[in-house]
Symmetry: C2
Amino acid sequence: MKLLDGKAAAEALKKDITRDVERWSREFGRKPRLAAILVGDDPASHSYIKSKESDCRQVGMESIVYKLSATISQAGLIECVKSINEESGVDGLIVQLPLPEHLNEQEIIETIDPDKDVDGFHPLNVGRMVLGLPAFVAATPSGIVDLLDYFHIPLQGKECVILGRSNIVGKPLANLLSRKGYLGDCTVTLCHTKTVNLEEITSRADILIAALGRPHFVKAAMVKEGAVVVDVGINRVESNDTKSGYKLVGDVDFDDVAPRCSYITPVPGGVGPMTRVSLLKNTLQAAMRQNIMFL
Amino acid sequence: MKLLDGKAAAEALKKDITRDVERWSREFGRKPRLAAILVGDDPASHSYIKSKESDCRQVGMESIVYKLSATISQAGLIECVKSINEESGVDGLIVQLPLPEHLNEQEIIETIDPDKDVDGFHPLNVGRMVLGLPAFVAATPSGIVDLLDYFHIPLQGKECVILGRSNIVGKPLANLLSRKGYLGDCTVTLCHTKTVNLEEITSRADILIAALGRPHFVKAAMVKEGAVVVDVGINRVESNDTKSGYKLVGDVDFDDVAPRCSYITPVPGGVGPMTRVSLLKNTLQAAMRQNIMFL
């Protein structure tokens, strides 16, 4: 069994990105810039945004955070998104989710200029991705594909079973991995809460991807000998082993499953770091796309 | 074995549509209108457009066909699409494909107002469909789902195997059938040219959908006893049995496969008529959506 070490892969990708950012910055006389809108005081959201700022710094990009009151109106937030859409110095724009309950997230997402939508949540980007057109792909599925690529996991013709049909992981990943060509060409089965005989289905998988958000759901009996297992889950569970009284565990029971695998992601340190890098990659891509016309 | 009689289902749906069109027309003082752009002299395209006009007439809708020269420029065609987008009396707009080679189809498709895109080819509609938002869904996948619904085929938790990952059938259908809720909740596997052990995979299917465009590809040995088989293929093959010297056959070897099935679509008379009805359904929906604000 080998670890799909997301930390190592992410560091390697960040080196490439840093080099490209440097080149781009020399060319255009400024750094690529990510704008983030943060609404309200949710501590988790604040901490995510801090990480994103630090990631940007690390690869030589600029970030700018618009901190807005939790009481902002839908119209006010839309105005804010529109004005950032217009700023030529901003390459990528994200709105940190979740938004306070009185706001309509979907409408906000659809207000973001698709060419700056580096989270890849705008339906236009989702559609373009599904159709095999150039598109921003959501960070987690994009990071998973890059992780498999980094470790040279063969994909063509492999049976891939995905657990969980969320809009930001399972669905886009199913579409990505079944598309034609390099980093695709898997035979994908998408499973969910209504799937019957789940264990039988997961046992067929050459590549098993768990993204259902249930701690230690995947056990050895569900995994084919020699499979590649990717664990997208990050679940907070109580623990006596840590000072904080909790620890983070994946959707896969690592100790039980690992011995049967050819490759497996650790949690943390697997998919997580790759997800973070994907946002940087998308922002760089946005900068390149928007400025190619001036070359 | 029972036939999934698409002709009968289409007739029933057309009755419902006719009734709704009548009601809508009374309400708004005009009939819902489908505009179609037809470029060049391709005989097949002309015949498809004729069928669409006749379908519209049959349910009480208006159709208007813009016949353009095969030599029209990309810019000229874009202008035409844009001006029809603006026409308040046009509810749905389609551009008959394929276009002559010098034209960029994708750009034309993306010029159509997504709210009038009753073919459901605009990436925004594809993305919205994938995300479970209201959207126009391409005619063939939409017609297949309606056909399964009409014959009360249970979908929840069923293993569905789709052969073929085209942008207009396989991919959208995989997304549709795996979505959450009524007329979804299947466990879908999408197969394609790179799929290995195809026969093993198709044999798992409770619902097998063939959309790969290869005459009589699916044989009895690939089908599970009691499966529901949907044949999307329409292949023209030479024949001594007909005056014209050819006949239309599906992707499924009907005579071989039918005895193993619980349900199977005939070709012709299965998916085809449902596809035609879907365009009417989408056009009615477009008319309803655009005018709901004036109610």
